[in-house]
Amino acid sequence: MRIGTLKETYIADAALFDSRTQKAWLVVAAALLVLFPFMASDYWLYLACLVSIHVASATGLNILTGYTGLVSLGQAAFMGLGAYTVAILQAKLGTPFLLNLLAGGFVAMLGGIVVGVPSLRVKGLYLAIATIAASFIAHFLFANLKFTGGTGGLSVPPASLFGLQLDTSFRLYWLIVPVTVLMLLGAANLFRTRIGRAFIAIRDRDISAEVLGIPLLRYKLLSFGLSSFYAGVAGGLWAYFFRVVTPESFPLQMSIFFLAAIIVGGMGSILGGILGAVFMTMVPELLKLAVDLLPGGSDLTVFLSPVRLVIFGALIISFLVFEPLGLAEMWRRVRRFFHLWPMRN
């Protein structure tokens, strides 16, 4: 709890953004997001879009795992469901991309609800194993159904808006980032509602939650559904971004990536999902840039590539050891420090 933030009403207490400074910084962040595509090269735009997709999916997983306490390793499979839905609709029917993204989200949501059914009986690692099955079933379906293009997958025509094809990172940025921001706002607001609070109650103690009148099955399935919806939309964005969807595009490893992202970022925090996804996507790239600064050319690249991975692994372990609450907690500490700065002492 920060000091110096007196609230006089419940509305003020529950506000999403609670201080003038925070709002000012949000305006700055929004302005930077708008200006970024005009300043950045194609490489940075590509990374921005990729980070955005990862943030959307990690936020979905955070709703399920971070806020509801249900561990899932099926996030990549749900992304796959969304991606394939978008690919099929775009390639075969040519329907508008927003409709396709929503359809992708809903198909993934249905998949998530089905996979979530065992969550009433099993939790923790047992549930994680049950959700792994989703990955294998999804892979099997993608590889063997005719309309999914078999192992070769599907090519996705670019999304288009008023005849303008969204086929470059610059153009896609204006689709991917706003959709992600909307999803983030949606997730942040979710936890100001009865549904969100019910999720948290289930995470903290499911039996107590039930005693309080929260129907466990309904809310657990709702959490699975919402999380998968996020994954489905993220998968749809992925399909528009990479333009090729194959059964090998969404491996189990990808689900582990998202789980790692929310653990490193901070479970049960929207900011944690964002920071975790940014960390997991950007740190390997930044380490590459650091290696580039060293003299030595491609010989050094060969030598340092494995070293880079070791450093990345060590960083993850360090965060888990020294800051188990994740990057979001570090951010909160920095924020607390600057809150009354320079009057701290």
């Binding site: 490489y43 192992t151 070769g152 990172s169 010989d299």
Partner: protein
């Protein structure tokens, strides 16, 4: 006063860092440093991850050929610059590497690391129009000049590799029974359907096709199925090594007399030798000569002089890719044409009976997207070498 000085210093440092960051974000310095005359080879190379065993060799191969060319004065006086990035064999990282390298350099030719990457980056290549690409993939799907006009394969595609093996079999044992064992992956399934038809055309029969999970270890059930079919030849595809040794060992223990065969990614000498004594006689298709081949090959001699220790077939593939890239560039420049993707590809397609310096045993012609040439090699475990089992087969 002191406090103020520190604060000013910190501010200027931060401003400096911000300016440097902005410069890196917008105009990477290496673009400014690059001579406009350089011919640039970009590369998404898997130096880590599951494909690192090949990536490291590919990287060294490209690097060595570039070195040879630069030491000889470049291409029409223009130096060649090779810019690789590690990808870990992940498509999203490969694309990031492509974006990074193309943002920082005016890339003319590019080496990609996987089928997934080749398919993903294809629309970008078409839109960009200034890059010719080849890579580690031999996927049959890429062997389509209409769909992939700015790409080519450095060797035969997987279906063509099967065709080479089947031709050899049809010649060695007409009417033979050939079993296909492949992994349940895009890589594994690639040539199966077309190759079955090709086998029938050649008068061969395919009594059994066995698909295993990629990376499977216990294959005893599959071996029994294979033994029942009693094939004369068994072709493995979609694997690097496992579970091939398991199949061979168990098959031999159960009295199978089949000859065992593989395709390019299994056929590196170091991989086959890991099969142990049971791997003796293992055969497969190889589009290139092995590092230690004794037949006349001036380019191999050069390679051996540069690197006295064994170099993998992935190295030869990277080396040849660089050779074809730069030969296309040379032909473009000779004709006074700009180095665009279309011009480079057209120049590549003018290669008729081109001498690779012995890397491929016969002169090659590239009329489409692949080089449909190969030879069957056989493992000699005693000599710890792969030895030629057929002449060069052109499709």
């Amino acid at each position: 006063m002191e406090q103020q000085r520190i604060s000013t210093k910190r501010r200027s440092l931060m401003l400096g860092a911000a300016a440097a960051g902005a410069a890196a974000l917008t105009h990477p310095l290496s673009v400014l440093a690059q001579s406009s005359e350089d011919i640039v080879i970009g590369g998404s190379i898997p130096m880590t991850g599951v494909f690192a065993f090949a990536g490291v060799g590919i990287n060294a191969g490209i690097q060595d050929y570039v070195k040879i060319i630069n030491e000889g004065g470049g291409i029409k006086g223009r130096k060649v610059k090779y810019v690789p990035e590690d990808t870990g064999y992940k498509v999203d990282v490969s694309v990031a590497a492509f974006k990074k390298i193309t943002s920082q350099n005016k890339v003319n030719v590019y080496y990609g690391d996987s089928t997934g990457f080749a398919k993903t980056i294809n629309p970008e290549l078409d839109r960009n129009g200034s890059i010719l690409m080849a890579g580690a993939s031999f996927a049959s799907e890429l062997n389509d000049p209409k769909k992939y006009p700015h790409q080519f394969l450095v060797g035969p595609d997987y279906t063509e590799m099967f065709s080479i093996l089947l031709k050899h079999i049809a010649k060695e044992k007409p009417g033979a029974k050939v079993a296909f064992v492949y992994s349940d992956s895009e890589f594994g399934r690639d040539p199966i359907e077309k190759s079955e038809a090709e086998a029938k055309k050649l008068g061969l029969s395919v009594p059994v096709k066995i698909m295993t999970p990629a990376g499977s270890v216990d294959v005893s059930g599959e071996v029994i199925k294979l033994r029942r079919a009693a094939p004369d030849y068994t072709i493995f595809h979609g694997y690097i090594l496992a579970p091939i040794p398991e199949f061979i060992t168990q098959g031999k223990q159960q009295g199978m007399t089949s000859k065992w065969m593989g395709t390019f990614w299994t056929m590196d000498s170091s991989t086959v030798m890991k099969m142990g004594p049971d791997g003796d006689g293992f055969m497969g298709v190889m589009p290139f000569r092995y590092y230690y081949d004794t037949e006349k090959a001036p380019m191999l001699e050069k390679i051996r002089a540069m690197r006295p220790e064994y170099q993998s077939t992935a190295y030869i593939q990277g080396f040849l890719a660089a050779m074809l890239f730069l030969e296309s560039a040379r032909r473009c420049l000779d004709a006074g044409k700009l180095l665009t993707g279309a011009n480079l590809k057209a120049a590549l397609n003018t290669l008729k009976d081109f001498d690779t310096g012995g890397l491929i045993g016969v002169p090659i012609t590239i009329s489409g997207n692949s080089i449909p040439v190969g030879r069957v090699y056989r493992a000699d475990m005693k000599a710890q070498k792969m030895v030629a089992a057929s002449d060069w087969i052109k499709l």
